[in-house]
Symmetry: D2
Subunit: 411 residues, 4 copies
């Protein structure tokens, strides 16, 4: 037993039903002499949830909570980030990054209501997720003990884990060889490992992808859709009002069928290393692009330009696990203020991986023929241009005069 | 004659051979009583250059200079911006923006060598180009007189212009009805006007596009290419060394055939209005994506993240006509320092509008299996994670402790 | 009469009672054949308001409104900017910049209620204030006609103005020779002109200053004060609750007596030129420093660092006349979110131009002995440092390994 | 002996001669069975260097290197940062932050030339310096072993250390009770600890300060000095050319005598906690202010505004120990480009803690009477203003039109 562990009586474990968190149950019991409560936060991984209760109990958990966090996840995390236009390193839609905090928050709630002494998670010591989990836990309870077995135990390989499980009669998941390491929720799937660890090689999408088809396999005919937004939040597809989770599910289906939202990137982890992953975000890619298009007619230039910088910061903060922080909340306050007029309809044409603009309208549009044609008696007087250019160029002129003067003084 | 114009004896005119700049020649002569020297800056518009000399003289110019600026344009403007990763409003590759300064610089040179008193351009008073032209002129000669007939003359329509031309026996370009307003050079074509002025309507790409086919019309088989970079600059395609202009021409052809690099956007002009345009950048889109992919393995995270902010500023500065400015040069100094290790090869798969990563390598890669697998005795010790997370989370913990204390003090 | 002016029947004029705006009244009447309504926006210039009514009527105004905007100015403009920590170019506390919008807003209100066709102001064509005025007017009424006589009339000097006034029996202000051009309100005084136009010369503060004494003339004994803030807004001095305007007045007096808040700077105007000014901001300097000190214990590092960037943008936006804009409002939303815990007391020692920290406390402090001493069983475990440093350094290590490898491969 | 330590045969120790690093010598020998080479990096702590050789040998070192790094420190670190205008959190001039890397670089050089296996330092696990040291070591040798005894040994108090020293006959420094923890070099002194740990109390500057007098004790007469810069670097005082270190020494003396450059701040450490310190930077404060004043006439507005953001990043990067990083080098490239015209003379009046501008000139000034007075036939035509304001306001007008239209459509 780990020294000083006798004060841990009850542990809440972030449980997925996979091999890793399954063997964590007996490991915690053996090393801490504690009761283990399994908690599953459902953020849309869906089909993976079947049979979890039985499996957890059989693995030694005293209790299991299966919490449906999908709506909360979508409304308060996914859409908040969509409004910010935040993409980590210009590409990654943060699907895993904000799934950790929503789950961690629930873990603390259950730990409090169940009187647990500690929270355990199955993240490895190499990744970002340990940081995201633990920061979120501490944000809600600074004194909560956190246990991360992966950083300390002696199990060094999948084989070690299987043996450890067999010795304790833990139900083994069906054998899957050579599978990519995957994180899935309603918003995305990420794929890592195997041949993806070699950035010099092209992945075989037909083997990697689960939500989408490769562009080559998409239909030869384009699909048109229309998305309605209210204050930056998607509210309807093709005129049909839906709640957030349904919008994402619908778009995942349509987008996935058209080969949309596949990204293959090398990203910089918080902990100083680069990792290569393939992401599937069919619905996300469509929503981000639609939102951008709507903003292109509803945000003025100054706001757009500064918001682009806010987006970068927002993405970094969320990627680095600081969802529950004053900075993220302040960035969101900025973003939400900008979204007050981001209301309207965007029509898109989806075709073999392409998202093509097919029309955008908004009651708050800052673009309209009235402004754009600038007829002779319109809002724009070309005579103003001369003065504008002269004053706008004044700083340039002054510098040029200085240079001329310096040059002459030298000669 | 315009008052106070008697001191203008010789004008250098930025000449294109189109109707607008053709009638500017007699207009200048009639209104200023001056000699007009036509200057054509070739930045890759190519086929539009035939017969220009004859046309200029026939329109009344005393002389014409046709200057091939293509290499300078590509090496010193296009690639400098490519290295910066600068896209205006996240999309526009600045094809028109940096073509104006390179031409303006040449105009000043010729004005000086020919002893001209003024420089004239054919930009309207509604757009960005007048600003770009005039700032660049002033950067090289603060005292040079600038004449912009479009902002002042009484010709209000194409019909007015044609009549004006006919009256003076100016050779008319072949009649083209209902054509989009277009700006073309080796890097891009932009299209504006007609139905594009209505953002709620989908453009008919088959009518708009000139360099590219729509994705639907691209081949059913993907095309693979490999691009080599040295210090951020493309130097070879498929292993064959080429100069910059040839690289762009080659990629325009390949990219155009595969429906790559078509963007349909509403952008914010410097002068406060929104404009909708369709851009074709087949080669540019490929080069930008390839460069990004190479940077993803050769730049460290800190540098990448800050450079993303520099990119936004770089794009704004260039879009707004300040190419020749201390700020742009200082931004370039930053960028060039970052590019010292951006050397390597990027393989891409082009397919119906998609640019798909097919492998990247670099002698300076910061990604390699050695770092990535992080085996037990490798560079990464998972035991370090605990300490890392604890200290990284310290600020969060301290805030959480404060909140708890405040809450308790209230209760 | 100016052509096309016959449609202007009634003009609302931003009136100060000075020579410039006094002669504007007959000028408007003569050139537009209109009625002129004078409006004085009191933002704390105080003593300059005596006798204005009589003077306006005598100068030909049909009516005068003297509006006390001081509280609104302080609560909604000054403190909003104080919370943002915004200083233009790191120095200027924006005293003139946000006084223009609050007045312009009132002008539009009165123009609407009085049924006026146009708004006139007395700003010159060389400065920032014309921009600030006109943007604010347009923000509330895009169609309101704006008249800026200074940009167009033929009066080229003070002598011209005096003669113009005499001819029309306009009451002349007392003769003041060689006075600095000055803008005053409750928040600040700015001084420009005369010898200040030469940055190579030291100003004679004894001649320039009006609110403050030079540091040399301040008392030999320091003055201690204590300022209480609630959510970033000052609410009490030395324990005595006061409304905002009284806090500023009190601090102006104390600060002015101690030689606080004098700045002598060369700043970059929006319209491309540099101008040199001396600013007096005794109360402002104290409030900014006190607020900063309080934030140093109540904001976490991430928030502080990003807010420092927001401050720069906020200052630029306000300086450039865009108070009433989505960007400024979004920046304020960010700022206000950060201020939720900026509550507490700051004690300062004022001594001959110095503001010296003499103690700060807050119920929301993120600094406390408990966190700071970090005793052995406290919140901080030094053993964590090793892991932290190792992972924090990982990116550096990886780069260093790459360089070593490259170097070896070359040898 | 620490396990796995047998492979360490020779250690290079960053040695100061204080109690902490003195006892580190026997501790390393006892725990690693290794030879210890003491290295002192002189960055201007000066008087602390006497008798160090004898002391190191007596403490058990086999050898000592006393390296004068002062010129390198000043030219390549201090002035590089001065040019950037970088102040951490707007205040701290980074005196300790960049002293660590210059020393660490030398440690690696000596470790390589002496064939050492490891580098040891005496930084605690609570501070920033461990990070700065170790990142710099890794930047030059990714494989170098680093030993940080303070993070692991059992000595928990000064008393423990003294006993440990006595037992081994280590020469004890003269007894000093209740002294502030201090870091000193040619650029600054920092003070921490004792009553400074309580931000609610005013420090007694007469007890804390060593380089400066409190403003109250400064002379009643001001001191005037003039500083000449070339490309952002100070090169002369009062017309007398001096090398960098002499400039700083001279200004420290003058500034210190006038109570200049004392800062009392609560700052955010990298490792998530706040610390309160008093800094003395007499020469630094003068140089920063002089440099700022010179930039106010030599940098154009755009460059100044963006450089202010670069300054913040530069300070963060240096504070966080990343001196030797591509990002810092790229930021420096930006900065150095901006400094090409930052040449000229700045005259200052120093008086009891105040630095007052007394005149600035530059051959590259962008301010001059010629530009500033803007006479009637000068570079500025007031008629341009109308057009400028109209176009500059266009975005505001368009938004206002939209709002009006929306409002009308609702009514």
């Amino acid at each position: 037993m780990i020294e000083n562990n006798t004060n841990i009586k009850k542990v809440v474990l972030a449980y997925s039903g996979g091999l890793d968190t399954s063997i964590t149950i007996p490991w915690l019991k053996e090393n801490y002499g504690c009761e283990v409560i399994a908690v599953v936060g459902n953020v849309g991984q869906d089909n993976e949830l079947d049979g979890l209760e039985e499996k957890a109990i059989q693995s030694g958990a005293s209790k299991i909570f299966i919490e449906d966090l999908t709506d909360e996840f979508v409304e308060e995390f996914v859409f908040e980030t969509l409004k910010a236009g935040a993409k980590y390193e210009g590409k990654y839609l943060l699907g895993t990054s904000f799934a950790r905090p929503v789950i961690a928050k629930k873990l603390v709630e259950i730990a409090h209501s169940e009187g647990a002494d500690a929270i355990a998670h199955g993240c490895t010591g190499k990744g970002n997720d340990q940081v995201r989990f633990e920061l979120a836990v501490k944000a809600f309870d600074p004194d909560m003990e956190i246990i991360a077995p992966w950083r300390t135990w002696e199990l060094k390989s999948r084989e070690d884990e299987i043996e450890y499980a067999k010795e304790r009669n833990i139900p083994l998941p069906m054998k899957e060889d050579n599978i990519y390491s995957e994180d899935r929720n309603i918003w995305h799937i990420s794929h890592e490992g195997l041949d993806l660890e070699f950035p010099d090689t092209e992945p075989d999408f037909s083997k990697v992808l689960k939500m989408s088809v490769p562009p080559e396999d998409a239909p030869d005919e384009p699909t048109y859709i229309s998305i309605a937004f209210e204050k930056g939040v998607p509210v309807a597809i093709d005129g049909k009002k839906m709640k957030g989770t349904d919008i994402i599910k619908t778009l995942n289906k349509i987008g996935g069928a058209n080969g949309i939202g596949i990204d293959d990137i090398v990203e910089n982890r918080l902990v100083g290393m680069k990792v290569r992953g393939v992401y599937e975000n069919p619905g996300g890619a469509i929503l981000y692009r639609a939102h951008e298009i709507l903003e292109s007619i509803t945000l003025d230039g100054d706001t757009k330009h500064y918001k682009d910088k806010i987006s970068i910061e927002f993405a970094n903060v969320v990627y680095n696990g600081k969802w529950f922080s004053p900075l993220r909340e302040s960035l969101s306050a900025f973003v939400n203020k900008t979204q007050e007029t981001v209301t309207g309809d965007v029509k898109l044409k989806l075709y073999k991986g392409n998202i093509i603009t097919a029309g955008v309208t908004s009651p708050y549009t800052l673009y309209s023929e009235e402004f754009a044609t600038f007829g002779e008696d319109g809002v724009y007087d070309q005579n103003d241009s001369q003065g504008f250019v002269n004053l706008y160029a004044l700083s340039t002129k002054v510098q040029s005069m200085m240079k001329k003067k310096v040059k002459e003084s030298v000669e």
